[in-house]
């Protein structure tokens, strides 16, 4: 099957700074693909290469088999882009923005008008369709960006942080909408700062770090492969320090010696419990947390929890 997006050996320099270093991956038709990475990792540059907004030095990018450079007219016809920043024509209303967008993608005037009306209603922008788009709220502008990208019914919808700065209610509406769209056959390529969002929505995840792909897997497999259960043992009495036998293991004594934390890998838990029993350190409570995509992401990118990603 021809991949929806096929990237091979993509290298991109901004002067002497290398933004992408041999990036290669595929997104299959019908995937809900999450593309994650810290700020400046290369997510937006990769999207720019797919959509024709960035030149690149080496490598190739294809959309449903169409090369984005040699066959750019065909590849662009198949892609809808929801950019990170609002980039509307400052002279137009919401209705006109959608109408002209339809025209650029080859819709007749009647088709463009009817499709614009449909999307204005779907995204609850109907009452605001006539005024200049600048009068819309941030959430409305965000919805208008998505509506614009859907005017020509793209086979691949690329969303670059679509829920940034969006309130919780709208975020959930967008999630439902994207799920339905994906179910109806649209391939979705999503970047987001909300790891929870990617975990909830995406069937496959790619992680990019410093311009290189560091992970690419089904969401569940990636989490399982990268992290184990997070185990926390609470002591009855605070420990003065780690017993010598535990020092060789990847465990951490926290909260003034009242908590021992570790990631369950290779049945480490049985060794820990045995040593604690031998050291006569009584455990009062055990807390086990299932690993999340955020745990995997933090591990892959070497970030600490709480750091903005």
């Amino acid at each position: 099957m021809t991949p929806a997006v096929e990237i091979q050996g993509l290298t991109k320099f901004y002067k002497s700074f290398q933004a992408l270093d041999g990036v290669s991956f595929n997104v299959q038709p019908g995937d809900f693909f999450g593309f994650l990475g810290p700020n400046g990792a290369g997510k937006t540059t990769t999207i720019a290469a797919i959509t024709g907004l960035a030149n690149f030095q080496t490598g190739s990018v294809r959309v449903f088999g169409h090369d984005v450079r040699a066959d750019y007219r065909q590849s662009r016809r198949l892609v809808g882009l929801v950019p990170q920043e609002f980039n509307f024509d400052p002279f137009l209303s919401a209705e006109q923005i959608l109408f002209f967008e339809g025209g650029y993608f080859g819709l007749s005037r009647a088709e463009a008008r009817s499709r614009a009306d449909e999307l204005l209603k779907t995204f609850d922008l109907w009452d605001k369709r006539k005024g200049n788009y600048k009068k819309l709220s941030g959430g409305m502008k965000r919805r208008l960006l998505i509506a614009r990208a859907l005017m020509h019914k793209p086979k691949v919808l690329i969303l670059d942080e679509p829920t940034a700065g969006v309130d919780l209610e709208l975020r959930h509406h967008l999630w439902d909408f994207l799920r339905r769209l994906n179910k109806d056959g649209t391939t979705i390529f999503l970047t987001t700062h909300y790891i929870e969002e990617a975990e909830k929505l995406c069937s496959r995840i790619g992680v990019i770090h410093q311009g290189r792909i560091v992970a690419m897997d089904a969401t569940g497999d990636l989490i399982q492969r990268m992290t184990g259960d997070q185990v926390e043992l609470y002591f009855k009495m605070p420990a003065a320090g780690l017993p010598d036998a535990l020092k060789a293991l990847p465990v951490f004594l926290e909260e003034n010696g009242t908590r021992l934390r570790f990631e369950e890998r290779h049945q480490i838990v049985s060794s820990v419990l045995r040593i604690l029993h031998e050291e006569k350190m009584d455990v009062e409570k055990i807390n086990v947390r299932r690993p999340t995509l955020e745990d995997a992401f933090l591990k892959l990118t070497g970030k600490k929890s709480g750091i903005a990603i």
Partner: protein, 255 residues
Amino acid sequence: MKILGTGFKALVEREIFRFISVFNQTIFPPVVSSFLYIFIFGYSLGARIETVNGLPYLQFLVPGLIMMYVIEGSYANTSSSLFISRWANNIEELLVTPLSYFEMVLAILIGGLARSLVTACGVYLVSLCFVQFEIAHPWTVLFFMIFVSLTFSAAGMIMALFAEEFEHLTLATTFVITPLVFLGGVFHSLEMVPPALRGITVFNPMFYMVNGLRYGMLGVSDVSVLQSMTVVLALFLGLFSFTVLLFKSGYKLRK
């Protein structure tokens, strides 16, 4: 894939809509200032000049003024349209569409052409209040109006790509376009220029444009109309090709 299809027409329509939506900035000012030029230079002062190239001065002045507004209008339209698109980043909206670079450039040029034709009609209508004459060679008029406008529309796009600030666009108008247009014979014939300067004038492309239109409207010119047509066509092809090349390479457009 269809060339100059629906997408192209949509972009032309948007470009025309853009200048019409701010007609008080794009159409009215040149029409009003042309009225002042014609009234003061042509009607009041011109009455003291007997004839130029065998024509009343007011009649001589009209084609030059029309050409001046065609040049300024087309340059201003495309340079501001493209620069604002770069500044507001909505150029990206266009760059992700399946339009070819040739279509993108041509559609924006046609927007400039449309604005300059509307302005030219406005200036001509104003001139009719003061002087009436029969158009000598209508097809020649059309040729110069279209190709000069497309040429300066292309120049405007190139400038919009090279400019870093909005002031750069007006600097080009103030220090290059306006002086060359004025020195190109809007208000005077080559005979009225000191002999030493005549040699320099022939290197001014605006000289051929003004005289080409003057030939089309009045049947008189300081230079052969074929020579004028050749200069205009060569300039148009050069600037148009360069603009398409800049779009293809993504100069100041793509990351």
